[in-house]
């Protein structure tokens, strides 16, 4: 999905914009529409740009769920760019992210927003230290007046760990390959691609204090979460979880003039198993469950206007449906999840200002059969942002601000007769957190300095989250706080 850039500086001076194409929220938003799949690379609006970034961001506050950290610090190095190499147009993106988080409970996996319902968890909060590397690349070439060829790859790998009992050590790689062919007539082009990928993740949990493994310390007990309410204590001697990932899919890109419509479909098969100590020819992996994740994504954009005023309209849909087959005690389908978003956006770039408006509708449904949980969160979020550049001698000062407001549009939650610890600790706080009204103002201040052919834009930013109407959820194990704030320091390097 294209994301609304909050961080980058803005400059409207035409020579600078032309020289540093990645400057400004408008440009970055436009680029992000074209950086979804390798099939788009030949239509990328930029013939060459480079944006590198060093960032430190810190987030703190009790407006969170128990699966989210109370404090989080992120260090990131990233570099993105487009280049023309002989006949080939090449796009690449690299980012390394180190994240330190504290007071994270109810999950022994690195990401809170992973849609898979299969993971290890425990109640006792702990501190995480994660290292994540992502490398993406795409290249395209016109082999004739009509025929286009594209190819690309994405690799994600990393190590992730928690340094309080229980201590998961996770290693992961996920590789996705894409290749396709296109046909072009006049200003219209169509590119069709196939997607194939695979990956593996192993999570091995250990305890430094063996007494923490005992039943006398239930908050340390590792659980197999296998749904959204259904979970079981891990009884095997070795606490571990393995995920085998297979991806297949397809993408279609249509470009007509300045209109781009990109559709992607991916089916991810995520099979979970546990390594058990056995000898002989018996498989050492005991199956736990299989998750099928179907993802549909449609990203479309239209750019128009002249040099003085440029406009960009975007429409994005994303649908992720998740279904499991539990291979443990249930031997059937226990979980159904759907996550859908639609975003309509409009951006405008004028000589003095840049503006952006977006409306996001979100529907998140989770059903756990045996635990009788039926969770539905539906929200609408409106965001406005603006950016202004003020020249200061040969340099410039940039100011940008944004405000977002989210409101509930028909969320509901029903739980059967039994409220277990997962429901109290995860389901109920999740419902309150994601369905409550929320105000999110933020601002950034940057200073642009040109050093030879390089533009440096150090930036400070701040965002504040304030719930407006927190849903009351009787029985919850965690009362949500009232604020969360995030500030960040960046050094943006434009080439």
């Amino acid at each position: 999905m294209a994301v609304r850039a909050q961080q980058a500086g803005s400059i409207q001076s035409q020579p600078d914009s032309a020289f540093f194409p990645s400057l400004g929220i408008f440009q970055q938003r436009l680029f992000s529409f074209y950086e979804q799949t390798p099939g788009q690379v030949l239509f990328h609006p930029s013939s060459g740009y480079s944006l590198s970034q060093l960032e430190m961001a810190r987030s703190q506050g009790n407006w969170r769920t128990l699966q989210q950290p109370e404090k989080s610090t992120k260090y990131q190095i990233s570099s993105t760019g487009v280049s023309q190499v002989n006949q080939f147009k090449v796009w690449g993106d690299f980012r390394y992210t180190r994240r330190q988080e504290d007071s994270v409970g109810w999950r022994l996996r690195p990401e809170q927003n992973d849609v898979s319902p299969y993971y290890l968890a425990n109640i006792q909060p702990g501190n995480w230290d994660t290292h994540d590397y992502q490398l993406k690349g795409a290249a395209g070439v016109r082999v004739s007046d009509h025929i286009l060829l594209v190819a690309g790859a994405r690799l994600q790998t990393g190590t992730y760990g928690r340094y309080n009992d229980p201590r998961p050590e996770i290693s992961r790689y996920r590789l996705r390959l894409e290749g396709g062919i296109g046909y072009s007539i006049s200003s219209a082009s169509l590119v069709l691609s196939g997607i194939y990928g695979y990956g593996e993740e192993t999570n091995k949990v250990s305890y430094q204090n063996q007494m923490n493994r005992s039943e006398g310390r239930p908050t340390y007990t590792a659980q197999d979460v296998m749904g959204y309410g259904f979970y079981r204590v891990v009884t095997e001697t070795g606490i571990n979880l393995r995920e085998d990932l297979k991806i297949k899919g397809a993408a279609a890109v249509v470009q007509v003039g300045n209109i781009n419509v990109t559709y992607m479909y991916q089916q991810k098969e995520r099979d979970y198993s546990r390594e058990i100590p056995v000898s002989g020819d018996i498989s050492p992996y005991s199956p736990i469950g299989d998750v099928t994740q179907n993802e549909h994504c449609l990203v479309s954009s239209y750019q128009w206007g002249k040099t003085a005023v440029q406009r960009l309209a975007g429409l994005e849909f994303q649908s992720v449906s998740v279904k499991d087959f539990n291979r443990r005690i249930i031997q059937g389908n226990n979980y159904l999840g759907t996550h859908r978003t639609a975003t309509l956006s409009y951006d405008e770039k004028r000589p003095a200002w840049e503006y952006g408006l977006s409306l996001n509708l979100r529907r998140d449904s989770r059903k756990d059969g045996t635990a009788a949980v039926n969770y539905l969160v539906q929200t609408a979020r409106l965001q406005a942002e603006a950016s202004k550049r003020i020249n200061v001698g040969g340099n410039f000062l940039q100011v940008n601000g944004h405000v977002g407001y989210r409101t509930d549009v028909g969320s509901k939650l029903t739980i059967g007769s039994q409220y277990n610890e997962f429901m109290r600790g995860v389901v109920l706080p999740d419902f309150a957190y994601y369905s409550s009204g929320l105000l999110e103002p933020g601002m950034g201040l940057g200073y642009g300095v040109k050093v030879k052919n390089v533009l440096l834009v150090p930036t400070l930013g701040y965002q504040w989250q304030k719930p407006m109407s927190v849903k009351a959820v009787p029985g919850t194990a965690y009362q949500l706080g009232q604020t969360r704030s995030t500030y960040w320091v960046q050094l943006n390097v434009h080439l």
């Binding site: 063996q210 007494m211 039943e215 006398g216 659980q223 045996t370 539906q378 039994q418 277990n420």
Partner: protein
Amino acid sequence: MPLLFLACEEDDSPLVQPVSFEVVVKYSSTYGNQTASNIKVKALNLDSKIATEATTNAIGVANFENLPVGVYDISVSQTYSPAQFLEFSGQTVENDVVFNATLTNQTINVAATKRFELELASSPVGNLVIKQVYFAGSDAKDGALFRDQFIEIHNNSDQVQYADGICFGQVLGKGGTVKVDPMYLQENGQYDWSKSLGMTVGNRANTDFVYMESLFQIPGTGTQYPIQPGQSIVIAQNALNHKAPYQDQAGKTITPINPDLTVDLSGADFEAFYGSTQASDINNPAVPNLILLHTYGKDMLFDNPGRDAYVLIKKDPGVASLPKFPTPDKTTITSATTLYYQVPVDWVLDAVEVQESSTKLLPKKLPNALDAGYTYVPLGKYSSQSVIRKVAKTFNGRVILQDTNNSTNDFRPLDRANPKGF
């Protein structure tokens, strides 16, 4: 348009639903297999620890509706006062009579059976009961490892009882990792003793007897070791003050780093001295030694994770001549085959089943009539914790311990083992 897109349901596949099941409760054949109506049945989910109760109807059926799939312990415990028991059975008794029945580790899902049967069995409440078992041991580095294990026996009656000749020991059962051909196992996964070589009592081999992995007898002339009402005796693996430094067999001085983790057993009433090569098997001449009728290992070693069952056996001159049998999976008997004492359930004064934890249950070794439940130390091995019987009441300082023949209800963990703590 976006709203329509978001609202449509992509997958309406039927999900697994919560399950319903019924439990039929009846009395044992001793009471004519009568239906047990108006009895509370408890289903405990071993993962969420949520207990749900249902009451049996006029035909003895308790219906549980819409419970999450899971593994459950299903149990009944019903206490009759002497008057109630007279009305029920026509028999006169002096003390309360407790009926128990338990099914442990029952998988309840869509595919599994929807009907369970519980048979209520009773057994007399004993005069001598197992009060405390300290099997976990203490920290391997800071404490005393497992050389400080002990068992405590309590006089729960209002009369002096004599320990002389009383036996106790650990019941043999199939361990979790032992591979045994299923043809030699009962449905619950425990040994099918009816298939032991030389067994002549048929299926009663599994219900009317227990088989001893170890068997110890308290010495004495018959009236040498009295236990006063409300008092107890302690039987130690090693009757030493484990809080203090001691010299092992090799003359090496062993000092516990944190004496608070272990216990002083120098005042124990009996100890097990094997005269073995176990470094800590030291004889304290001031403490009488047990008679070793049947042993395994190099000392009186209790399984310190807790996978044992302990029985207290009445004094009987015939104990040493009880028949012995091999485990059912032995197809021949040689001089190397270990044979185990077969002790009639009627001889058992008290029993307690111990497990590692509620989520690591081994097949029960004791029949329901002896112990319908199990107990465990929550912090596990080397935790310094023991299991101790709850106090039911106190009469003029005489402590009466709870004995419903269901150790899930009767026992609790003690954070620090405490011999003769009260």
